[in-house]
């Protein structure tokens, strides 16, 4: 029982980060039908920004907002340089473009920085734990879960209570009709990339704090988690993305602790197997989204 509770807390912490990444993927997919395989590059770029800033003696208090800012800026630049040129293209072209961005960004760091791992110091509290009864709870997980809850509330308020949020939801439901209402496609798409970048930035803070290092290929893992979680949740559904992220985190933690030692290293594989099974029985993901037909 205690072990299960322990797993749930660990899984929630891990899943929270995935949920933030998946939400960013879902927001972009909603407005422009782009499955963004370049999403993880936001963490690659902000990872290097964090490394350089910490190397120059900045404190983590300054690096935290820096990571979010760099992530938002990178998201907007990628939209401007790459995705704005293929707007309205078929889904496959968009997909290939995002793959291209993914490879180009990591290649830039590989060519102009270094292929080697850049490590940086992590804040001391990241490894601290506290005891509740027989449970050992990581301070880190508590902070991640708390911040994620706040970020989700903020996102929900933004979407429900502001004109921008309304425009974003309308555009996700039916882009052409939203434009007929006067919703500017530029503003809504850039807004979506900014929001997606901010969410990835928050996820990135924790990802980088935990990793304590970055490499040119650092974006692969967060990208996989974000895209997978969004797919599990049902692409385009924001609620589904959050749910998918939590489910993925939980599944990883539970499998890692429950599988016999000899196969524990295959956790990832088992997770993929489970995801494949999910799609056999529920190809639309956990939450199905009805999309207006694009004419």
């Amino acid at each position: 029982m205690a072990e299960l509770l322990q797993n749930l807390i660990d899984g929630l912490g891990r899943g929270s980060i995935y949920a933030l990444l998946a939400l960013g993927v879902a927001v972009i997919f909603g407005v422009m039908h782009l499955l963004n395989f370049a999403h993880g590059e936001l963490i690659t770029v902000s990872g290097y920004a964090a490394f350089w800033a910490l190397d120059a003696g900045w404190s983590w208090y300054l690096v935290v907002p820096l990571i979010v800012l760099v992530s938002v800026a990178t998201s907007l630049v990628i939209e401007r340089v790459a995705f704005s040129r293929v707007r309205g293209a078929d889904d496959f072209t968009l997909l290939l473009t995002s793959f291209g961005v993914h490879f180009v960004v990591s290649a830039i760091f590989l060519l102009y920085v270094s292929a080697s791992v850049k490590t940086f110091s992590r804040p001391g509290w990241v490894t601290n734990t506290f005891a509740v009864g027989s449970l050992r709870i990581e301070v880190f997980d508590t902070v991640v879960i708390g911040v994620t809850v706040l970020a989700l509330i903020g996102t929900s308020l933004l979407l429900q209570r502001t004109m921008f949020g309304l425009a974003l939801r309308a555009a996700a439901a039916d882009f052409d009709t939203a434009r007929l209402m006067g919703v500017r496609s530029d503003s809504v798409i850039r807004g979506a990339f900014a929001l997606s970048g901010a969410l990835a930035g928050i996820a990135g803070i924790f990802w980088l704090m935990r990793a304590g290092s970055t490499v040119p290929s650092a974006g692969v893992n967060p990208m996989l988690k974000g895209v997978l979680a969004a797919l599990i949740g049902g692409l385009g559904s924001l609620r589904g993305a959050v749910l998918g992220g939590l489910a993925l985190g939980m599944a990883e933690v539970l499998l890692r602790s429950r599988l016999p030692d000899s196969v524990a290293s295959l956790t990832e594989g088992v997770v993929f197997l489970l995801i494949a099974l999910l799609f056999i029985f529920r190809p639309q993901g956990l939450i199905a989204v009805a999309h207006a037909e694009r004419v």
């Binding site: 004109m163 309304l166 425009a167 439901a173 009709t177 007929l180 006067g182």
Partner: protein, 233 residues
Amino acid sequence: MLEVSGLTTRYGEISALRDASLHVGSGEVVGLIGPNGAGKTTLLNSLAGLLEPSEGTVTFDGEDVTGSSPERLLRMGLALVPEHRRIFADLSVEENLRIGGITVPAGRRQPLLDEMAEQFPVLRDKWTTSAGYLSGGEAQQLAIARALMSEPRLLMMDEPSLGLAPVMVDVVFELIASLRDRGRTMLVVEQNATRMLEMADRAYVVRSGAIVAEGTGAELRDDDRLFDTFLGN
């Protein structure tokens, strides 16, 4: 107010609309009638900026707006109630109206919402309901109210009575009549030619992608030959 000259719109190789010319004066109600697939929707979508015409010009208030984006045309005062209504099903009735008023100054939005609530009692009763739960007739009224939220100077409607129960068809035509009586400029595509001709100051007959006749409602109604040839299908 609106001048269209020699407009041609193609889908790939096929011209869905060829060399169409028409005009709508301020305060006029103009009908576009003709059989299914004649190119009426293509014409309206080209005027609203959803389709890019390959030839011809569109002038609105003396300004050349050919090929402008929908969001720019709306800001100039040209609104379209699209075919099949296209309301946002997951958004509430109120949110649908708010999005319709996204271009008006924030302070003007609430008075407009109040106006719509008063003018459309069926919508007021379902204010916070998801628009997906509305009946066809209610949804059509929402689509029209949503377009009115932008305070357009030219209101274009695409088949507002399509797929509605007969009693709702009456409601929609009464609504169009009351908008006309308040001096609203409208360009309306309708398959229900008889009723449209009663309503409109003038009308154009569209067939096979071209405008083949023009006249006042009465002229076109009395022209039996025209009526039989182009509409009696």
